[in-house]
């Protein structure tokens, strides 16, 4: 029989105002097994914790219930206090009589009655708790970074510079991500490539970073500290070790008119190409959907020209395995494809803006390439249809963002800023030009951000109209933009030469599949979920998996970089230990009673249950059984509820405990 101590907290007035704490303590003292029932003004305070420690000693208590706030608030506090007094931390439970009782009820009688019941429930549970030890697992001190955009680069360099190895996987032929294609960045207007490319080179040359470009994560097995990652290296048809990057091949390729992905279709490339001159690795790739040799067996000119013999038309996808202890997801974003198929998520609409039909209606990333000095026009703003410099440009914000009907309900956060930047860059290049912006609200929170927007308006003369655009049509080479200026309360039609749509930020293609592979939560839009929005912003609910950058939510470069460094810090903390501990409240299988139906194996979301065989010393099969891998089990308990033979159980939430909790409610 346990000696149970119950400690009821007043939480100042917070609990005591509606719950008669003294009466609770008296009532609880009557429960069989309760040796000590006391109360204190602030149980979590130093005097409160001292009281707990003293009572443990004086009453020889061996299990505790603290009735105060939510266990999410202070369970760790009280378990630690109990641990210091020599009680196994897992023999402490909490009753939530604040959030679930005193704060939500006004009737003192009922609230007091409820508090007593809640404590009784915890008492019934705690007396069946078992002493547990945290699970220790070894740590492989290598990190995987998925995604080589600015966030991934920052995280990788920070971790590698601390002395740990990093494996980076980038889907595209070069790292650099979206930022590599940007022109100048707000609010300082510094050149994007100038600040990014040196970092890209660092990654490419770092002795502790192994870069897999043009590769994707195929599968992830294992658990925190011990992941086994399979990486698919897509056939590049160029041996990047032999290749010197001399450029003979892409200069001789006769297929000149391939639309460049890097330029978002605004420029062209060859069938063998380096996406952009500063690419890392600065090695070409062959577009198998364009190359004549790969499609029909002709040409082969590049192979003949290559002195390094690096071209390999027989190249195939390769799978490689890497062992890592932590995984960092930095898969970034893509733009809402205006008025076009958005893949699975049935986002449709914006037929009224004519994107895809009118050549001079472009999206914001395309505009970035138009103003970029390294872009297809050499930084001269020429509209796509006829190469004429546009005299009037309309910028439309919130395209897809904040549009529940045809798009996404959230704000993409950075569009207000880059649209202001676009108007400035445009004005700086086309002095006579007029920029119009249709906006709903200007969201320019951040250091020097609002000043930046005001500069666009006051100095560079961008005309801001508060209203959405309803329709764009094309008439005699002009785009007729029908909007409204709600501040002037007028409908407003502007004849523009070009229209730039600030399309919403969405997670990259494949983000959801990756989230599922990693066991990380994601929201309805496909953005990865953090473990706690305030206190664990870069961790996920899958231990050992971290997130940074726009895969988590729309964010700008400074924020993505800050998050990336935060992730690096978390990984360094993890790698600072040779072993790591995990919560021991996990499932177990009674192998004696297991009927080997393996329903648990099929339902376990973590693939943490394996089929095993018990053999006699002579190797004769005694029985087959399921077995929990304690490194993988996260303790959800799904196996317990599906087990027909009741052989599965969960520490901390055992069958016995839950049934006796229910029984205590009589």
């Amino acid at each position: 029989m346990s000696r149970i101590g119950v400690f009821t907290c007043w939480c100042g007035e917070n609990i005591a105002r509606t719950v008669d704490v003294e009466r609770v303590a008296e009532a609880v003292a009557q429960i069989p097994g309760v040796r000590c029932s006391v109360h204190n003004k602030y149980m979590c305070s130093d005097p409160g914790q001292t009281m707990i420690r003293e009572k443990i000693a004086s009453e020889r208590l061996d299990v505790l219930v603290v009735a105060s706030c939510s266990p999410h608030m202070h369970l760790k506090t009280f378990r630690k206090a109990a641990g210091q007094a020599g009680i196994n931390p897992y023999l402490v439970e909490m009753s939530n009589i604040r959030e679930h009782c005193s704060w939500v009820h006004h009737d003192k009688e009922k609230a007091t009655e409820k508090a007593i019941q809640l404590i009784r429930l915890s008492v019934e549970k705690v007396r069946r708790n078992r002493a547990l030890e945290p699970i220790k697992v070894p740590v492989t001190k290598r990190a995987l970074v998925i995604g080589g955009g600015v966030a991934g680069i920052q995280a990788a360099l920070d971790i590698a510079d601390t002395g740990y190895e990093v494996v980076m996987v980038e889907r595209e032929p070069s790292i650099g991500g979206k930022m590599a294609g940007l022109s100048e960045t707000f609010p300082t207007l510094d050149c994007s490539q100038c600040i990014l490319t040196p970092r890209m080179v660092e990654v490419g040359q770092h002795s502790r970073i192994r870069l897999y470009s043009y590769s994707e994560v195929e599968s992830v097995d294992g658990y925190v500290g011990n992941f086994k990652v399979t990486i698919r290296q897509k056939a590049r048809y160029v041996d990047i070790d032999k290749c010197t990057g001399c450029g003979e091949c892409w200069n001789c390729c006769p297929l000149k008119k391939q639309l460049s992905e890097f330029d978002y279709g605004m420029g062209t490339r060859r069938a063998i190409y380096v996406p952009f001159p500063q690419a890392v690795p600065a090695r070409p790739v062959i577009d198998k959907n364009a190359c004549t040799k790969l499609k029909k067996g002709g040409c082969g000119l590049c192979e003949k020209k290559c002195l390094a013999k690096a071209i390999n038309f027989k190249d195939q996808d390769k799978l490689v395995e890497e062992l890592v202890g932590a995984i960092i997801v930095a898969t970034g974003y893509q733009l809402y494809r205006v008025g076009q198929d958005q893949g699975k998520r049935k986002l449709s609409g914006y037929g009224e803006y004519g994107y895809g039909r009118y050549k001079d209606v472009i999206d914001s990333l395309q505009f970035e390439r138009l103003v970029s000095a390294s872009g297809p026009t050499g930084g001269v703003i020429k509209r796509p249809s006829d190469g004429v410099v546009p005299n009037t440009v309309v910028f439309i914000s919130c395209v897809g963002s904040r549009d529940n009907a045809k798009g996404l309900s959230y704000c993409s956060k950075i569009c207000c800023m880059y649209t202001a930047k676009h108007t400035m860059l445009y004005k700086h290049k086309v002095h006579e030009g007029q920029a119009h912006v249709f906006y709903m609200d200007i969201r320019a929170g951040g250091k020097n951000y609002d000043e930046f927007v005001r500069r666009a308006i006051e100095q560079d003369g961008a005309r801001y109209h508060r209203g959405r655009v309803s329709k764009i049509t094309e008439e005699n080479g002009k785009l007729i933009v029908r909007g409204a200026d709600t501040l002037a309360a007028v409908p407003l039609t502007i004849e523009a030469d070009m229209v730039v749509l600030a399309a919403a930020m969405r997670p990259s293609d494949g983000a959801e599949e990756l989230a599922q592979e990693l066991g990380v939560g994601y929201d309805e839009f496909g953005f990865f979920s953090e473990s706690h929005p305030k206190l664990r912003p870069v961790e996920t609910n899958a231990a050992g998996v971290f997130i940074c950058g726009a895969c988590h939510a729309p964010k700008d470069i400074p924020e993505a970089v800050a998050q990336a460094s935060a992730v690096a810090g978390k990984v360094q903390v993890m790698f600072g230990h040779d072993e790591m501990t995990r919560e021991p409240e996990i499932a177990s299988i009674n192998e004696q009673t297991c009927a080997a139906c393996f329903a648990c194996v099929r339902t376990c979301p973590y693939h943490a249950i394996e089929k095993t065989e018990i053999r006699s010393p002579k190797g004769i099969l005694v029985k087959r059984t399921a077995r929990v891998n304690s490194g993988l089990c996260m303790g959800c308990g799904t196996c317990v509820s599906v087990c027909p033979s009741k052989s599965a159980d969960l520490e901390g939430f055992s069958e016995q405990q839950i049934y006796s909790m229910i029984e205590s409610l009589v």
Binding site: N404, A405, P491
Partner: protein
Amino acid sequence: MTTHPTPAHPIALIPVENCYQCGKCTAGCPMAERMDVMPNQIVRLAQLGELERALRAESIWLCVSCQTCSTRCPKSFDCAGLMDILRQQAVEQAKAAPSQVRTQLFQKAFLRNIRRYGRLNELELVRTFKTLAFLKDMNIPFLVKDALLAFKLQQRGKLYLMGERVRDRGVVDRIFQRCL
């Protein structure tokens, strides 16, 4: 989701607070240029509970019910539906803008017409409408304006001196009685 009208719809049931005043309704409205109060302002007035001004606005009578606003609304707010309700209330409360009286008279004449015959009797509709309008504004050119049109229609066999009527006119009248 767009709210579908139900037979009883006090204005309080319309989720006007869903509108975030982006102005796309005004931007796309074919009639906005002629309106005294913009569609988004009409919604705004409804949000503020300033119905008086909305009910007296000419705009609600200029609205052609083309539904462009409701169709493109990013919040799926049924602005065209709100216009309907405001029109109904404006008539009920005798607040309809005097300058737009013709539209009201036309619609009243239209309903009177179908109440009587069950189907539209175009010639009689024009006659009723013109008479009502004339009694209101004594505008002779407007009264006789479409006389020539009648001739042209007749030439094309499109003019029916006697319109159709339904057999069960009783039920039509009773439907009107129950609804009005």
